[in-house]
């Protein structure tokens, strides 16, 4: 078990290096240069000085090495565009909001999605089941920008007097309700469908029949035998879902004007602020990779059969 966990943790190191390398090489090929603004001519000497300051004059492998060293010491370097701001400052300022948004959305998805799936599976082919599945299909297909816009339209504007929710921002708890629902609805639909599927399968298992046959109460069979085993795939799904939340949060932050990382990312790309884009991409990749690692380890703990197969 310990060997499995250590192996899995060590494996993330080459993965991280590779992902940083890919991001790094991609960023080097982006057209344009933050120091070559057409409206503000910069003399060649200043240009050279600036490039030296940001290590842009060194060969690429040296830049890469310096960058990896920076990442390892949690230093993502200075911003190329905003003077006196480092990427770390930007992360510190914007990231907590994105993190909170993502976390709350995930919580929303788990708290509402799993019971929905359970209800659907316990009453298959009834109104509950069809309703839950219709809801989950639609929830997964409707683009989040429509959900967000509709939520704002109804709960902040049309019935604004009743609910009193603001249309944008990220300040009080009232302002967080709509973005969290808008972002969490997709993952919630996903959880519901997943849990329903695995639960229907688990209910067919022999050990469930045995448990019922030996006279355990329905509640106990459900909690101990069915639910526990049905939730394992939901744990595995949490990793990819995190990627979904990050992708989704770009749109949600954009619509609700939340000063999070997704909104800043778009600004940084158009400003060609390499080091910020690079830093944020690396940060997001690290999150996804670490989340996948945790999911794999959890999966190994919950389902020992998977331990030998991987790593």
């Amino acid at each position: 078990m310990i060997r499995f966990i250590i192996g899995r943790i060590l494996w993330t190191i080459p993965v991280l290096l590779l992902v940083i390398l890919m991001t790094f090489l991609m960023m080097r090929h982006i057209q344009g240069n933050p120091f070559r603004h057409s409206e503000r001519a910069v003399s060649p000497e200043i240009q050279a000085n600036l490039e030296r300051k940001f290590n842009l004059d060194k060969p690429w492998y040296e830049q890469y090495f310096l960058y990896v060293k920076g990442v390892a010491t949690f230093d993502l370097g200075p911003s190329l565009v905003l003077r006196n701001q480092s990427v770390n400052d930007i992360v510190r300022e914007h990231f907590p909001k994105s993190l909170e948004l993502g976390f709350l959305a995930m919580l929303f998805a788990v708290v509402f999605g799993i019971p929905l799936g359970v209800i659907a599976a316990l009453r298959p082919n009834t109104v509950f089941d069809y309703g839950a599945m219709l809801f989950s299909n639609v929830g997964f297909a409707v683009p989040s920008f429509l959900i967000a816009t509709l939520l704002i339209y109804f709960f902040a504007l049309k019935w604004g007097d009743i609910f009193g929710l603001p249309t944008s921002g990220w300040t009080g708890w009232q302002s967080k309700i709509l973005p969290v629902i808008a972002l969490g609805l997709g993952p919630m639909a996903y959880f519901a469908r997943l849990v329903r599927g695995t639960m229907l399968e688990t209910l067919q298992q022999d050990y469930v029949r045995t448990a019922k046959a030996k006279g355990l109460s329905g509640r106990r069979v459900l909690m101990v035998h069915v639910l526990k085993n049905s939730l394992i795939p939901a744990v595995t799904a949490a990793g990819p879902l995190l990627g979904f939340l990050i992708t989704g949060s770009f749109i949600i932050e954009f619509i609700f004007a939340i000063p999070g990382i997704g909104k800043y990312y778009i600004t940084a790309v158009s400003a060609r602020d390499y080091s910020v884009v690079m830093g944020l991409t690396v940060l997001l990749s690290v999150i996804v990779i670490v989340a996948n690692m945790i999911v794999d380890i959890l999966y190994g703990v919950l389902d020992p059969r998977t331990r030998e197969v991987r790593t």
């Binding site: 890919m22 090929h29 639609v138 683009p143 067919q204 990050i246 992708t247 060609r272």
Partner: protein, 314 residues
């Protein structure tokens, strides 16, 4: 796969291939079409998939035909007619520039669907190449390639599409969108193909082909790759929703298609400016996206029942 082994052996020296894939060609066409006929029968049994397929075709037909027969110029600005409500003359009303929305949505659909299918095609080509090399060669190369793929799974999708767009530079066109969307999402297709190839490699007819002296490229090209066709067709409709939504997201945050050209995503973005007063402008393109994605999901479900009954979902 209902064709019995004896049947196949009698008709053709290349049982797997002719039985599974070739519809026309040598042998008796009636027997050999049975795979597809079975598939059709299984597909039709799935009512949701049938309805979804029909709606999908209707949307396609709408996008193709309406701009041709429409009396309105989709780009002509006419401020007298702006924000007209839905009527017989304008079934969806008009937009902020007085353009007929019924025609514009069809044109936007052309671009969205075109980008969707083109990117899916690129995804499948990359996935097929990568997956079949990995699965066919096996051993350490397979291991290395799969580990590399694991690493790529760490890349967040939208940021990488955005970076790719920035690398290509200039204003995004249909083709740069296709490239950006497919570069960020071919991993799953590669995995599916690899899995299929590895399963197929265990089959007797593959071993038989090797035993009678078929070269590796012949085994690969004649026996393995054609037999991935089933999963590839399913994969089209599995990948399509993600790509269409991805395009819509990029266009919605202003990094996609630029006006006057429009996709459903960029139309939704334009509609968002006036959603308080004229909600239909964001609703209609968004609901088109949602309908298409929903249909693609159901079609993928039906196709899985039809073409890959062994991996049937519960």
């Amino acid at each position: 796969m209902v064709v019995s082994p004896q049947d196949q052996r009698m008709r053709s020296p290349d049982p797997a291939h002719s039985g599974d894939i070739q519809v026309a060609g040598a042998g008796t066409p009636i027997r050999q079409s049975s795979l597809w006929r079975d598939a059709k029968r299984r597909y039709v049994r799935n009512k949701g998939a049938v309805v979804a397929g029909a709606i999908f075709l209707i949307i396609l037909a709408y996008c193709i035909i309406v701009p041709i027969v429409s009396p309105y110029d989709p780009d002509e600005v006419n401020f007298q007619d702006r924000f007209l409500p839905a009527s017989l003359a304008h079934p969806f009303g008009t937009d902020a520039f007085g353009r007929d929305l019924f025609t514009r949505v069809a044109l936007g659909g052309r671009i969205s669907i075109m980008i969707g299918f083109a990117a899916t095609f690129v995804i499948l080509v990359i996935g097929l190449t990568y997956g079949s090399i990995s699965g066919f060669v096996g051993g350490w190369l397979d291991n290395a390639m799969m580990r590399f793929l694991d690493a790529l799974y760490g890349l967040p999708y939208l940021p990488f599409a955005i970076i790719t767009l920035a690398i290509i530079g200039g204003t995004p066109t249909k083709w740069t969108m296709v490239l950006a969307l497919s570069i960020a999402s071919w991993f799953t297709a590669a995995r599916i193909v690899r899995g299929q190839i590895i399963t197929l490699k265990q089959n007797d007819y593959v071993r038989a082909a090797t035993a009678v002296g078929a070269r590796w490229y012949r085994v690969l090209a004649r026996h393995l790759v054609p037999n991935t066709l089933g999963v590839l067709i399913i994969a089209i409709f599995l990948e399509l929703p993600g790509v269409i939504l991805g395009e819509a997201f990029l266009s919605f945050i202003g990094l996609g298609i630029n006006p006057p050209a429009a996709s459903w995503g960029s139309m939704a973005q334009e509609g968002r400016d006036v959603y308080r007063t004229h909600p239909s402008l964001i609703l209609i393109p968004s609901l088109m996206i949602a309908t298409l994605v929903l249909c693609a999901n159901f079609i993928a479900d039906g196709l899985r029942d039809a073409l890959d009954p062994r991996t049937k979902e519960t």
